[in-house]
């Protein structure tokens, strides 16, 4: 069994504190659901665990089986068994998906995977996820629909077989059928050597992949932890009742203008 242990984690972005002391322990074999209104720090938590350079950890610790995760570079974290299924996977023109997947797989193994074995495994997973057969030859995420991008994240998770998968709104952009396929893929991964943290706003995903633990994160802190009953209540009543328990937080993300950055890429205004 492996354990991912987060203690008193404080995280800033551009000197604004987003996470204000998170304590969370995840063991393999468990599925954790992370819920909370927009803009309260769920994605930040997952990104900070992965090591996104935009986020600064100012206090606290993250340990994976006694190894200090905060001292690891992003690729070392991946190799240690952490996987982040991103909310907005990057489109990388010029990088062919199969080249990338093979490089990623090789990075996780001592011996490079044989081409034959790689193609066999890739084809099988692409078929399981009912993805475009040409996907392997296309540029990474470029021109992929929202649903294809999310399935591509799941494909990578299946190939890399992490100890801990952090899935950030993996269900957004998926239609009902695709959601079923993705949920099945996550359920297939379930084992004593796999742990998962899922962020989602929809009860639907949690019906298909039932979590063993549920947490509510507001204003940078986990204010409630429990089981399925929390999901039911949020689905019926929203987050108002959490406020009534005495926690104060914003329920709407501040709308940020979209500006054109360099090279015409869409970037969010800081």
């Amino acid at each position: 069994m492996s354990t991912l242990k987060i203690e008193n984690l404080h995280v800033c972005i551009d000197n604004k504190e987003i996470l204000k002391g998170i304590d969370l322990t995840i063991n393999t074999g468990e599925i954790h659901a992370l819920m909370g209104p927009n803009g309260n720090g769920k994605s930040t938590l997952l990104s900070a665990i992965m090591g996104n350079p935009k986020y600064q950890v100012t206090e606290g610790s993250i340990y994976l089986d006694g190894q200090n995760v905060l001292e690891m570079s992003v690729d070392e974290r991946s190799k240690a068994g952490i996987f982040l299924g991103m909310q907005y996977p990057q489109e990388i023109p010029g990088v062919v998906t199969s080249d990338f997947l093979r490089a990623a797989l090789n990075a996780h193994q001592e011996k490079p995977v044989s081409l034959f074995k790689f193609i066999k495994e890739l084809d099988k997973n692409i078929a399981d996820l009912k993805m475009d057969e040409n996907l392997a030859h296309r540029y990474l995420n470029e021109g992929f629909s929202g649903g294809e991008k999310k399935r591509n994240e799941i494909l990578q998770m299946k190939l890399l077989k992490p100890k801990f998968a952090l899935l950030d709104e993996i269900d957004s952009g998926l239609d009902v059928d695709a959601l079923k396929i993705v949920s099945e893929a996550i359920n297939d991964m379930k084992s004593d050597s796999f742990g998962c943290v899922m962020v989602s706003h929809y009860e639907r995903l949690f019906e298909l992949v039932s979590p063993s633990h549920v947490h509510i994160l507001v204003d940078g802190k986990i204010v409630l932890s429990g089981g399925q009953e929390l999901i039911d209540r949020i689905d019926k009543e929203g987050y108002r009742w959490v406020k009534e328990l005495g926690f104060d937080f914003e329920t709407e993300e501040n709308k940020q203008p979209i500006v054109l950055g360099s090279c015409g890429n869409k970037v969010k205004a800081k």
Binding site: D75, R77, M86, I92, G94, V95, V96, A107, Y139, S262
Partner: protein, 299 residues
């Protein structure tokens, strides 16, 4: 430097003089000019072992389909001047590559004249360890002449590479398009000047260019300069230039899958140059290019 298996016609020049020829099609050499008179695939190797200034010309007759692969292999500094004439309605696919493992200077001054309805696509591939000043000029001399260029240049160590890529529109209804891509590493310098020139009266012409340089390290020098000189109203023209670092979000994404920063950068570099392959029709050359690129970017 080896002969490509799927090319029938082969010519080796050593220090400007003809060393070896093997032609299956109607191809002749007169006064330092290679005359191609029939549809053909031709490979030319320019070997240089002595310092000097060399000249060589190529003429492609009208209404032909020609694949031209040119490779420079030099162990001494040298400079080449070339005049190339592509006659009416011919279609030409060119691939120009320079090879050297020594830090020498290899300059190239190339003037390509393109006549009526002729179409030329050319890839210039520069992955080698030398310094260069390359002036490449395509003159579109008659109506409906069309040129498409693509440059892929890697400048590393202390190399100093400067390209002047020019499209001159000297007739109405002529079309030019170029994409010049570069990567600069360590202490190297790379300058790309893209020049599009449409003269007065050359209406209905299009000239487009994109110049992009990715900078890898502090201490590199990079310049992408787009120039458009237009003296006519009824034309279409566009230019773009960008110099920048590799996208941090791209690196983060690739690294989050276990790729080291080095590997991630290599993968992006490789992908950045890959579109040059579209300009290569010869299979063995495609493989070769891919191998050289992998070796040079260290994949």
């Amino acid at each position: 430097m080896s002969r490509l298996v799927d090319i029938d016609n082969y010519l080796v020049l050593e220090n400007g003089t003809i060393k070896e020829t093997s032609f299956k099609q109607d191809i002749q050499i007169q006064n330092q000019t290679l005359m191609i008179n029939e549809d053909a695939k031709v490979q030319i190797i320019y070997k240089t072992t002595e310092e000097g200034t060399y000249q060589f010309n190529i003429e492609i007759k009208d209404r032909l389909h020609v694949d031209l692969v040119e490779m420079y292999e030099a162990s001494k500094s040298c400079s080449y001047t070339k005049n190339i004439k592509i006659n009416e309605s011919s279609e030409v696919l060119r691939y120009v590559e320079k090879n050297s493992h020594q830090n020498i200077q290899l300059d190239l001054d190339e003037n390509v004249d393109v006549y009526k309805y002729a179409r030329v696509s050319c890839a210039y591939v520069e992955l080698t360890d030398y310094t260069t000043l390359s002036k490449i000029k395509y003159r579109l001399l008659e109506e409906e002449a069309s040129v498409k260029l693509r440059l892929a240049s890697l400048s590393k160590e202390k190399e100093n590479k400067h390209y002047e890529m020019t499209l001159e529109h000297l007739a109405p209804h002529t079309y030019g398009d170029m994409d010049n891509y570069g990567i600069v590493k360590s202490k190297a310098s790379l300058i790309i000047d893209g020049v599009g020139r449409i003269y007065k009266g050359m209406s209905g012409s299009d000239t487009h260019q994109t110049n992009k340089i990715i900078v890898f390290d502090e201490g590199c020098k990079a310049q992408a300069n787009p120039y458009l000189y237009i003296d006519e109203y009824d034309v279409k023209a566009s230019h773009g230039a960008s110099v920048g670092k590799i996208d941090e979000d791209h690196l983060y994404y690739l690294m989050s899958r276990g790729l080291s920063k080095q590997d991630a950068m290599h993968l992006v570099t490789y992908g950045y140059f890959l579109p040059v392959l579209e300009f290569i029709s010869v299979e063995s050359l495609k493989e070769r290019f891919s191998d050289v690129l992998k070796e040079k970017v260290g994949l």
